[in-house]
């Protein structure tokens, strides 16, 4: 474990050396995600400016939900973005074979290989939204609230990573996993808004099947004093369980890869 942490640190250092060399690219990359976020936020702003509330949720309350999911997403974006590109930049190019002849875990190698600076933009947007909305809503930054938020965001990030890992594993069967990852990942957009605007079936899907809701709606509800019961506390447990499942799926895919080479 310590070995992997120092190695990760090393990979990260090297990555930053590259990023510093291409400073312009770094800025473009990190700010590009901000621009993408602005599109979504402008929509909410335009629409919410014309109506008093969305299903009982005010503008700032919606922003809190949106900010939480964005923060969780940014964790995945910064630390596990290679799960998206595993197909074209690793498996099809043959680079993945390289990981398999190195004496470290191939999944670790894959994730450590590229810290994705684009995610920083998402992180900043998410943090700004949470800061703005909590301030406007008068949610105090007590140690308890801060800790609760940190756990919620990290668990949310883990949920994103686990689901992406499961879908990325399809690369070992279809040589390009982006399509599959995209479909599952896209459902997180439901969780950008309060789940109450959806049909019951969708709420169940976002809570129990693809639990992105645990990263945004439930923690936000808890902080806002809306009653969601035990679901306010479930995200770390679910995140851990999902990670374990995802890793097993990945190992299964890896076995298939070495069986078929595709």
């Amino acid at each position: 474990m310590r070995r992997y942490l120092t190695l990760y640190w090393y990979f990260l250092l090297q990555r930053f050396k590259i990023l510093l060399e291409y400073r312009a690219n770094f800025m473009i990359g990190a700010s590009s995600t901000i621009i993408l976020q602005i599109a979504g936020l402008l929509t909410i702003w335009v629409v919410m400016g014309q109506i008093p509330d969305l299903n009982g949720w005010g503008f700032d309350e919606v922003l809190l939900v949106y900010g939480l999911i964005t923060l969780a997403k940014s964790i995945n974006h910064m630390f596990a973005d290679n799960l998206w590109t595993i197909g074209w930049s690793y498996v099809r190019s043959g680079q993945f074979d390289r990981f398999l002849v190195r004496p470290i875990d191939p999944l670790f190698h894959l994730l450590a290989d590229r810290f994705c600076h684009d995610g920083i933009g998402n992180f900043l947007v998410g943090a700004a939204l949470v800061a703005k909305s909590t301030a406007s809503l008068g949610i105090a930054w007590t140690p308890f609230n801060a800790l609760y938020l940190a756990v919620a965001v990290l668990s949310g990030g883990a949920i994103f990573i686990a689901l992406n890992l499961i879908t990325a594993t399809s690369v070992f069967w279809i040589t390009e996993s982006i399509p599959v990852t995209q479909v599952i990942f896209n459902t997180h957009e439901f969780a950008q808004y309060p789940l109450t605007i959806y049909h019951r079936g969708i709420q169940i899907l976002l809570t129990w099947v693809l639990p992105y809701g645990l990263a945004s709606f439930y923690p936000a509800s808890f902080l806002l004093g809306r009653e969601v019961g035990a679901l306010a506390w479930l995200s770390p447990v679910v995140a851990l369980a999902l990670l374990v499942i995802a890793f097993r799926v990945w190992l299964f895919g890896l076995r298939h890869y070495s069986g078929t080479g595709s």
Binding site: Q14, P103, I104, R255, S258, T260, G261
Partner: protein
């Protein structure tokens, strides 16, 4: 005690079957079909420590697939393989510490990093002790002339520089076996020469076992006392290079530069035409059936000859014959 032992090694790929055209593409979407592709077919061989073995065959013969099974990347469909007494697939990580792999055209180094940074990272991954690392680095820097390359990012290197860097990175953890999959592809003669020298030296000094696939017969002639030839996934020859040469060495080639039209000449008995141009004729003859002077005499009688030369067959033409089917019956050395 062999360091590598392959028994009846086979690899079968299942590949999706596609009919041509839009309709075919549609069909592939709705009901995918698969067919089997046998890439490696029942290959057995063993390699002793310290050997350099040339593994050769035409494109698609199954060389890379074999290497992938030996390195633990792929699991054999049938048969089994032992490397240093381990199953390279099941004990992949343990195996990885003891081997180094070069895949010809793709680099293991980080594109944008200065070469020395890449090397440091590789050394960290393989946990090379710092003192040892420094010593090997100095040694490689000298033999591969890396000195001025250390600060250069890989992306700015020429093909030859890249390959030298690649070799250094592959051997920096002093592996006991290195697999080189087409290491000299696309390189110029001087770089090739240096790389061969380096491989030889590693083999001599550190006793590193080397498995080398190549299309370059110069590599084979200079490096590999032993070759394994495969064709369509099956082994067709395993033995010393000298045996092949001796077996095909009974042929000689004689080239005439003529004043008149060379095609007017009848082919003397025991010889056959290998190349014919208007003013140039190349014949190959079997030394056990005829002699050089008989062939030359016959040609000179038919046309005016300006000059002629006699050549031993080079390995290239021998290999060409082997791929062409001359070895369909496997020879035992």
């Amino acid at each position: 005690m062999p360091i590598i032992q392959a028994e009846n090694l086979s690899k079968v790929f299942r590949i999706p079957h596609k009919d041509p055209g839009v309709a075919g593409a549609f069909k592939a979407v709705l009901r995918p079909r698969f067919e089997d592709k046998v890439a490696v077919n029942g290959i057995s061989f063993s390699v002793e420590p310290g050997e350099i073995v040339g593994y050769i065959g035409v494109n698609g013969a199954g060389k890379s697939t074999t290497i992938k099974m030996l390195t633990g990347i792929l699991m054999p469909t049938r048969g089994n393989v032992q490397v240093l007494g381990r199953d390279p697939h099941r004990q992949r990580v343990a195996n990885a510490r003891d081997i180094g792999v070069v895949f010809g055209q793709r680099s293991q180094l980080w594109w944008d990093l200065a070469f020395i940074e890449s090397l440091n990272l590789v050394a960290k991954i393989y946990e090379v002790p710092p003192a040892r690392y420094k010593q090997l680095l100095d040694q490689f820097a000298e033999t591969l002339e890396l000195g001025e390359l250390l600060r250069v990012p890989i992306r700015n290197m020429s093909l030859g520089q890249k390959m030298r860097a690649e070799l250094a990175a592959t051997l920096i953890h002093a592996p006991r076996i290195v697999y080189l999959d087409e290491p000299t592809i696309g390189l110029d003669l001087i770089v090739k020469e240096r790389i061969r020298e380096f491989i030889k030296q590693q083999n001599r000094a550190a006793g590193t076992t080397v498995i080398l696939t190549t299309h370059d017969l110069g590599d084979i002639e200079e490096l590999c006392p032993r070759v394994i030839i495969i064709d369509a996934g099956a082994l067709i020859y395993d033995g010393p290079i000298s045996t092949i040469k001796a077996r095909f060495g009974k042929y000689r080639e004689i080239t005439f530069e003529t004043l008149g039209d060379a095609s007017a000449c009848a082919v003397p008995p025991g010889a056959e035409i290998v190349g014919a141009e208007p003013r140039k004729l190349t014949l190959r003859f079997d030394r056990t059936l005829t002699t050089a002077s008989q062939v030359a005499q016959a040609v000179m009688n038919a046309i005016e000859v300006k000059d002629f030369s006699l050549a031993e067959p080079d390995l290239a033409s021998v290999i060409k014959q082997i791929y062409g089917g001359a070895l369909r019956e496997p020879v035992t050395p």
